[in-house]
């Protein structure tokens, strides 16, 4: 089976079938990243298409000695951030410290046995519900880390931030996510 990097080389030679294979392979992950940042289905789909067209046009810039996945996902992140900038005029993708401080008000450790309150399925549903309530920057970092299974180094490369910074941000994003679903559970009566 041909590697993504070999497929990219073939695209450069004009092989559209190789490009189609790359589209099929990456459409879900590209869409997921974009959707998690932008939060709207139609817009995410349009931007996904734009990302693949950009990939096709810029494929000559891809260094075949490197991995293809981080390269395309970086394009996806940058394209989406750029679209957000145009849309909002003012970019708002920085990690909001006040947001996490608000969530930090309640102590984390005052909890009982999680199994007593959550079934795995139920926990998954809670997470799914709150994920879109997180700031975009937290959503994208959680998506890259847990959905795409990127390690901190790879995320650092995609987002252009340091590896240490990624670790801190993943931690904050997880903490924020937990607070949100706990609050949601409390409102629903599943107090923990």
């Amino acid at each position: 089976m041909m590697s993504d990097e070999m497929l990219a080389s073939q695209v450069l030679e004009g092989d559209l079938c190789a490009f189609e294979e790359l589209v099929n392979k990456y459409k879900k992950s590209v869409f997921a990243i974009i959707y998690r940042i932008i939060g709207q289905y139609q817009e995410a789909e349009d931007l996904s298409q734009e990302v693949f067209l950009t990939v096709y046009e810029k494929i000559y810039q891809f260094d075949v000695s490197k991995k293809f996945a981080p390269w395309i996902h970086r394009i996806a992140v940058n394209t989406t951030i750029s679209a957000l900038r145009k849309k909002k005029k003012v970019m708002n993708l920085s990690f909001d410290e006040t947001y996490i401080q608000t969530l930090d008000n309640s102590p984390v450790n005052s909890m009982g046995d999680p199994h007593q309150y959550y079934e795995r399925k139920e926990l998954g549903a809670f997470i799914n519900e709150v994920i879109m309530d997180l700031p975009e920057s937290y959503r994208v970092i959680i998506t890259l880390r847990y959905q795409m299974d990127y390690n901190n180094g790879e995320i650092a490369e995609i987002l252009g931030i340091s590896k240490e910074n990624v670790e801190v941000k993943v931690h904050r994003a997880r903490k924020a996510m937990r607070k949100l679903y706990m609050q949601k559970a409390e409102r629903k009566g599943d107090t923990i």
């Binding site: 450069l12 693949f52 067209l53 993708l93 987002l159 931030i161």
Partner: protein, 366 residues
């Protein structure tokens, strides 16, 4: 370890990323703290469900077909416009390689003499060449082609006083121009009768080119003394997929993006991008004239505030002025997203064309 410290390490602990020392400390704490044990359990549960919870499976089935249709349509449109979608290759006349080879021959045969005769006394060129064996291979290959073409003398003469060196895979060649402060035209700006060139430019080594593209053969004019209209910079690259791409990365928390020149006229073809210190250099060739344009972008800082800013009115007035010669190097400050970038252009294009080009340049994200 207290609960707060424990909490900070639990994510890494659950992903087996914690150092053995911290692991021991945390496990010691867990033995006595039920809340933290529950937190570990909850984190593990989250890890187990996160992937599935995040899964998105509602992308339209026809997505691939739509993308491929769009790609085909764009390819077709580009073909009709004679503007290729993938990496465009500048068309070069057949004698181009022979010319290059001829220059290499002249250079290698008469290098000491050329150095003595070509560079004026105010300028010294330090040429450091590594991997000379591979360089020699390229030179030999070029010479062979040149011999076959029998065009040695005529075309070589076109390059006049240019000293040219070939590059090859794995070779890093640096040309350092140590022009003294009295050296002519090192960084000449439009209104330099009033403003002396930026002091940081004087005596500072100027790295003209640093190449790391395998299979790339580059012919570069090293006549840094004048950068006159005669000094042409010609590039030829054997393999487009070997291009390395760099861009100016602006990192501010998550707000990072990579900048590159956009909106250049279609007759300017991007040949290469190079990373050089804080700047990124883009090399374009003008298809019709076969002239190169070196365009560098770097974040503009107050340290470089004495560098001339070219407003459009400056360009127009300079264009109309016949009193002062127009430079072969322009420096402009272009703003993008409220941030200023210093953009430098070097070229042997005519002044008219360079001025026209500088007005077309905008910055965009890669």
């Amino acid at each position: 370890m207290n609960c707060q410290q424990a909490e900070n390490h639990i994510y890494q602990y659950c992903e087996a990323n914690l150092s053995p020392e911290l692991c021991l400390l945390l496990e010691e704490h867990l033995k006595t703290c039920e809340n933290c044990r529950n937190l570990v359990e909850l984190t593990r549960m989250e890890n187990a469900v996160l992937k599935d919870a995040l899964a998105l499976d509602y992308l339209d089935d026809n997505f691939t077909r739509r993308v491929m249709n769009a790609v085909s349509a764009r390819s077709m449109a580009s073909t009709m416009d004679q503007k290729p979608v993938s990496k465009p290759r500048a068309k070069r006349p057949y004698w181009y390689l022979a010319t290059a080879a001829a220059i290499v021959l002249l250079f290698t045969a008469f290098a000491p003499g050329i150095y003595n005769n070509l560079f004026n006394q105010d300028s010294q060129m330090d040429v450091a060449i590594k991997d000379t064996a591979r360089n020699q291979e390229t030179v030999d290959k070029a010479l062979e082609i040149a011999r076959q073409e029998n065009e040695l003398t005529g075309d070589a003469a076109q390059f006049g006083s240019a000293a040219i060196q070939s590059f090859d895979a794995g070779t890093v060649t640096e040309y350092t121009d140590n022009a003294s402060s009295t050296g002519t035209n090192e960084t000449q700006h439009y209104n330099n009768q009033n403003n002396s060139p930026a002091s940081t430019d004087q005596n500072a080594p100027v790295q003209i080119a640093m190449i790391d593209a395998p299979n790339a053969e580059i012919l570069q004019d090293t006549n840094g003394n004048t950068r006159s209209a005669d000094s042409s910079v010609a590039f030829k690259t054997a393999s487009p997929n070997r291009y390395r791409s760099y861009a100016v990365s602006v990192t501010d928390s998550m707000e990072d993006y990579s900048l590159m020149p956009v909106d250049l006229p279609n007759n300017y073809v991007l040949e290469k991008s190079l990373n050089a210190d804080s700047a990124v250099v883009y090399i374009y060739s003008e298809i019709n004239s076969n002239q190169a344009v070196e365009l560098s972008i770097e974040p503009y800082t107050t340290a470089t505030s004495d560098i001339l800013t070219l407003a459009e009115s400056d360009i127009n007035s300079a264009k109309e002025s016949t009193a002062q010669p127009l430079p072969q190097q322009l420096e402009v400050i272009i703003e993008y997203e409220n941030t200023k970038y210093l953009v430098k252009l070097k070229s042997s294009l005519s002044n008219e064309e360079l001025l026209k080009l500088v007005k077309e340049i905008h910055l965009g994200e890669q």
